[in-house]
Symmetry: C2
Amino acid sequence: MPRLKPQPAQPPPRERILQAARELFYRDGINSVSVDAIAAAADTNKMTLYRHFSSKNELVAAYLAELAAEGEGVWDEARAAHPGDPDAQLRYLLRKVSQWATQSTSRGCALANAAVELAERRHPARRVVEAHKRKQCARLVALVREAGYVRPERIADEIFLLVEGARVSMQSVGREGPGARLYALACELLDSAPKKKSLKAHTA
Amino acid sequence: MPRLKPQPAQPPPRERILQAARELFYRDGINSVSVDAIAAAADTNKMTLYRHFSSKNELVAAYLAELAAEGEGVWDEARAAHPGDPDAQLRYLLRKVSQWATQSTSRGCALANAAVELAERRHPARRVVEAHKRKQCARLVALVREAGYVRPERIADEIFLLVEGARVSMQSVGREGPGARLYALACELLDSAPKKKSLKAHTA
DNA sequence: CATCGATGGTACTGATCGGTAACAGCCATT
DNA sequence: AATGGCTGTTACCGATCAGTACCATCGATG
């Protein structure tokens, strides 16, 4: 008799919990989801959850840290898709984020939403959010500069605000609003922005 | 003996409740504030609160409706400050909103925050938020068009996203982030945007 | 087989919350 | 003075929530 383990090899509870947290926290909002609900959605119970996360706040922080890490991955993806072409990488990122923002299930940026929802400044999740957003800003400036635009900080600021505005406004003006034109707007911005004479800023 | 009513003529409880709701809802987030806390801050009690608002949701909706109404007022203010000069009105509004967003107590747009916090699509407050944001968008397009810019929808979309992005990103990247440059960015956008030949679109 | 760690299940605590009941006072009008 | 409406106060209900104690169970290792 073969030892039967025909179960679909359920991943360990920690992963299931984080997966459930992603879905519920994002869809319903962090404050509206109880740890009981997450444990149930993860097909486990509250006790096991608390064996992996010391508190709900820590779970929230872990959930956001996971999303932040995946967000970092998109930059590598863009670089891999258009190696050595920062301009194309920029547009790749913009296309990705605008596609993602206009999905029907989208409720904007989970990190930004968390900052709105968790008003207390001491919340451990806020550190995650702030660190991630700052890093995104810095990366964006670097990429715009690498692409050779003049006044890269200005372009980067503008793109950043457009993206953040598009993602948050989806939830108030709806999917037909200005956010729907994010990609076109940002591309026009890039197209009309002056570049330095292509003096090959390569550090080589 | 004169009838003594030396109390500072406290406004009626409904106004006090709405005032307390404004402060607490905005500062701590809607879901983090109990009706008890609002009643206490309004120097009254829960019973009186429920005599004026049938539920917390209704109170939230009233709170947002009040803010929306005041937001409408700023447009009249701009018109009064620069009558017949839509371009100046535009910059007046931008200056106002960016000043307001960079205040230390600012936590962004209360309406947008509410849309983030109240994920359930049936929430009565969402109707208030969506109606207000749509109206703001329409007003903005009209004002940009009135100012004679070509492709006014594009300019309006861009300004709208910049404003929304600035207000929401303050809460994640902080007051030193891209949002701090909102006014300068928007003004540069307007300065460099082409206008139709000044053919005096006055309807007179 | 025995052991041990990780997991699952149940039940519980203490606190908070939205909402209501019942009663007492206050003030303006008549 | 009497009335009636609005307000203040206390207490309560039922539900939910974060977090914990306790024990049963499973699976891998020795």
